[in-house]
Amino acid sequence: MLLILGVIVAGYALLAPLTSLDAAQSAGAPLLADRLWFHIATFIAMFVVMATAWNIIGGITGYAAFGNVAFFGIGAYTTGMLIAKAKWPFLAALPVAPVVSTAFATLVGLPLLRLRGHYFAVASLGVGVAVGELVQNVEYGGQPVFGGASGLFLPIYAVDNRGLFFFYLMVLAAALSIAVTWWVLRSRFGYGLIAIRENEEAAAVIGVNTTAYKVAAFALAAALTGLAGGIFSQWNVFINQDNAFPIEYNVQMILMALLGGTGTVFGPAAGAVLLQLLIQFLGGSLPVSAEIPFVSDTARPIVAQVILGVLLVTVVIFVPRGVIDFFGGRTRLSMSYLRRSLRETSL
């Protein structure tokens, strides 16, 4: 059932934008052919990439990295700098983003992945924060290298129907991430990663080169995340520490993977779509956003965050295995399921 539903929704989302604005509006589907929708949809696709990429190192390999936004920012600045300062064309600058992200991940991953559990999470968070700070503030000869606090401006990419172009580009990246995940899960590499997650010592003694595999998973996640960043920089035309290294993205990626179901192919993607729609809905940026009663317009974004927080807490407490368990038909959302998962995790 899920499959049919998913195909219909995906098909609609992907093909409807191709129809002309007039046709869509007269058919009564203003949402999709609308520029705002492109923007939101592209944003959602971006998170699909990031959540799916995180899943490779966090969900499949079991090393919950907390600073993957660093790769997003590195990708964004790599492409951004090549376009803005070195005057490269976009399509040439874009592939460099994943390359640089991967190189960085390999360098940083070698020492970092020797750490376990909390220590790895915290260290990766630290790296994520530090990289953002450094990129924004590093100077050479008194001048900020990467544009400093005022950020980096890119020339607008000259192409017809820009919204459409970047939407499909980001969707392509999302499809790539999902395809990579699918491949990983049925390959020898993927089995090795799962073995590392389940029991690293046992994996080592049966012959898995745990160090190489962990770093490879980390680098793979970095490459995909960096790609998303590269697309973002040209799409958004402006990047700075706030929009290229937002700390909240770290948690959002993880939450999306968790929500959808880590370790699965479509889980993180489902989680990304759901959560991002929710965030946008609560924030009031969706055309169908409802009015929250008793709340003024200025207080609305704050209340939205509170609701988000409450939802997050509720989900974490009651749905540890992710929603894809329900949609996949493996479990049903019932009181007994909720009670069971509560018993498993509480004191």
Partner: protein, 256 residues
């Protein structure tokens, strides 16, 4: 098929192997040899350093002294996965299955990695998994999740996974622990079957029946040192061995 005869060249050699934790030597100057095709038991009271010794051989611990040689070449300091690739496989005393995989996948993953003789692509790995599961008697439960297995079955799976790596030497860590008499007999059959395929076996055991039953040689460890080695029934009557297990008073009592 008759039992393979052990050849004269040592396959595994331990020379003065020492491993310290803090100030305490868990393994202290251990020296012995294992010939190819042999089946050797390591026994000793709790805390004698048996599991630590296995950990040293399989590369999970770095040695503080001495050397371990495999087919003539030193392997001390090698990473565990490289030792596995050389053909040394092991099981863990407290079994460590990969919980989210099925029984079949657990067995297959041994064949996906493992020694140089293994390392197959996924499709072949699953075929090898089926063979191995049949060898240990788990063929009927191949599709089950690991969580559904009983303890004896989990131990079988642990062995299956190790065997799937196509080892030349298999290190078994207390495979019999927690099994009742019937289960021990079945496990003995399983170990014999594995040995019969040409794998050298080095096992740690507490159950004397096993040592006397299948081991050709026994090595006794106490406080990290080799107390005695030789044929099982000789070793088990050695006064020092009895003393180590039962204490001085009993040793005197049992003296003929």
């Amino acid at each position: 098929m008759s039992d393979p005869v052990p050849s004269t060249q040592p396959q595994l050699e331990l020379r003065q192997v020492t491993k310290r934790f803090g100030g305490v030597a868990a393994v202290d100057g251990v020296t012995f040899e294992v010939a190819k095709g042999d089946i050797v038991g390591i026994i000793g009271p709790n805390g004698a350093g048996k599991t630590t010794l296995l950990n040293c051989i399989s590369g999970l611990h770095r040695l503080n002294g001495g050397d371990i040689r495999w087919q003539g070449a030193s392997i001390s300091g090698m990473a565990p996965h490289r030792i596995a690739k050389l053909g040394i496989g092991r099981t863990f005393q407290i079994v460590r299955p990969f919980g989210s995989m099925s029984v079949r996948e657990n067995a297959a993953i041994g064949a996906l990695f493992g020694s140089a003789d293994a390392r197959r692509r996924p499709k072949e790995a699953f075929e090898i998994a089926d063979e191995v599961l049949a060898l240990v008697g788990l063929a009927a439960k191949a599709g089950h999740p690991v969580s559904a297995l009983t303890i004896p079955d989990r131990k079988r799976l642990e062995v299956a996974r190790a065997v799937a790596t196509r080892p030349h030497l298999l290190l078994l860590d207390e495979v019999m622990a927690g099994l009742n008499n019937v289960e021990i007999d079945e496990a003995l059959e399983m170990v014999r079957a594995v040995h019969a395929t040409g794998v050298t076996v080095l096992l740690i055991e507490h159950v004397m029946r096993v040592i006397i039953g299948i081991c050709r040689r026994a090595i006794v460890l106490d406080f990290g040192q080799v107390l005695a080695q030789g044929e099982p029934d000789v070793v088990l009557r050695d006064e020092r061995v009895i003393q180590a297990y039962l204490g001085e008073r009993y040793a005197k009592r049992l003296k003929p």
